[in-house]
């Protein structure tokens, strides 16, 4: 294995709704904050990877930050865009292409986005026209089957949301900052049963950026570098249950999350039990439940008990989505995966304030999942 890579700067433009700011402006603010955090100027950056789903070319950030001539690669991997940007930045440094790299993402989605078009995904028109091409449907269908196969009650779907909003309430950067009662969530409007309104995250706006460099050089810039022990992206195999599937194969295969997670743990030389603080993709509460097991943090079916016993709380054995996750922060697609990495860095630096995981966490983990079946995973170490 080649030399480790370190994160030396983090910057976030808080997610939510910012009517007076373009997506790009939010990305530029996040990027300037990350550079300031690292104590590096834009002309010292050798390469950048950036993504935005609906707010224009990420490369346009150069018009704000400065035209330094650096290679800027636009990344477009659905909800896994941020995970793809960081893994590309890490690979560039490891390969010796760059000493200092940036991973950045931003977005600005209209209310009630997204409405995908079948042809963009290699699918026939009738699939969209007849009302089958909705991400919320997929999450509900996968969740319903998963609860059935593993004997999990629907209360678990409520408890995930309860914890997300509870954590959001103590995160000054969160969008949803009001804790909600079990009843409020359980009785919210049915969207795609078994999933209800407050069990889904919303499309949002925001920006997130990281500055990375070779680990051996990190101390020059930063007193508290966070090592990237692994950053892995994997796509689906034949037979896995993915979004936008008019049919599923007779024989089911593990999700890309499973293969990405295994590869990441192998690269990092640690296992799920070593991880002190966790971010998993929670576009909806069913997805978080599934992703906890797919990433190896528990057995399939164990989630109901973990949630009921408070083990996924900030003070629990497996602190999950300590900043409120997608549920409390919303999802600006290009930035969302990097928001996860920023929260883990904040926790490993001991800077998370009232939501700080106790006991000086040393190892953290992030996971994103995106259409049409892409997972990005990182293992991070103080």
């Amino acid at each position: 294995m080649s030399e480790d890579v370190a994160i030396i700067g983090i910057g976030l433009h808080p997610f939510g709704r910012h009517d007076d700011l373009s997506g790009r402006a939010q990305g530029a603010q996040a990027l300037r904050a990350a550079l300031r955090d690292a104590g590096i100027s834009w002309d010292q950056v050798d390469i950048a990877y950036g993504g935005s789903h609906e707010a224009g070319n990420a490369d346009a950030l150069c018009n704000d930050l400065g035209l330094t001539g650096l290679p800027f690669i636009n990344v477009a991997n659905g909800c896994a865009t941020g995970g793809s940007a960081i893994s590309s930045a890490v690979a560039a440094i490891r390969a010796g292409m760059a000493e200092v790299a940036v991973a950045v993402g931003f977005d600005k989605h209209p209310r009630g986005a997204f409405n995908p078009h079948p042809r963009d995904w290699g699918l026939p028109d009738w699939y969209g026209e007849t009302g089958l091409m909705l991400t919320t449907q997929f999450f509900a269908l996968k969740t319903r089957r998963y609860l059935h196969e593993h004997g999990i009650g629907e209360d678990a779907l409520v408890r995930v949301a309860e914890r997300a909003y509870r954590n959001g309430a103590i995160n000054p950067n969160a969008w949803r900052r009001r804790a909600m009662t079990f009843e409020e969530i359980a009785e919210s409007a049915p969207v795609n049963l078994p999933l209800r309104q407050y069990m889904f995250c919303n499309p949002a706006e925001g920006g997130a950026a990281l500055v990375l460099c070779r680990a051996s050089a990190a101390k020059r810039w930063c007193e508290t570098p966070v090592l990237v022990k692994a950053a892995v992206v994997r796509t689906r195999h034949h037979g896995s249950f993915e979004v936008f599937s008019p049919a599923l194969a007779a024989e089911q295969a593990p999700a890309p999350t499973v293969t990405a997670s295994r590869a990441a743990f192998e690269q990092a030389g640690v296992g799920p039990r070593d991880i002190d603080v966790i971010q998993v993709q929670d576009t909806d509460t069913g997805s978080e439940i599934i992703h906890l097991a797919e990433n190896g943090f528990c057995e399939h079916g164990e989630q109901e008990r973990l949630l009921r016993d408070g083990e996924t709380e900030i003070g629990g054995r497996l602190p999950v989505n300590t900043d409120g996750g997608c549920l409390a922060n919303g999802e600006p697609i290009g930035a969302s995966g990097l928001r996860q990495v920023i929260e883990i860095c904040t926790q490993l630096r001991g800077q998370a304030g009232p939501r700080q995981v106790p006991g000086h966490p040393r190892l953290g983990y992030t996971h994103v999942y995106g259409a049409p079946g892409v997972s990005g995973v990182t293992v991070l170490q103080r």
Partner: protein, 150 residues
Amino acid sequence: MSQPVLACPGLLRFDEGRPSLIGSRCADCGEVYFPAAASCTRCLGSRLEPHGLGSSGVLWSWTIQGFLPKPPYDSGETADSFRPYGVGYVEMASGIKVESRLTLADPARLRIGMPMALTLVPYRITEGGDRVSTFAFEPSGESLEGSSHV
């Protein structure tokens, strides 16, 4: 009854007016696809043949579409006139699970494992007044319960 106008004409075959689904099957490894595919994502082969999937199966998962989808959904309904519809995966005899609208949208009457039969539902009325149909599955009652899938 005249032949219905279909949103998805290539997907169905009619035998004495009864619809069944058409997909494809890999000539090399036998994997079944719906809708028909041009290449096999399992064995990487490219010899695919038309293959009938039949017209019955069991409900594998389900949800209720509770809000009016955005375009390209083209039912012509408004947020006020929208009526929720069921969506599910139905496991066919070969084991493939086909995503489909369901004729039922009542959570109390849907359960995983219930036998289902293929039918058509008019989901859209054109400006000219034509009813456009798409495929859907409906509960097929107890008569099919226990029918074995081979």
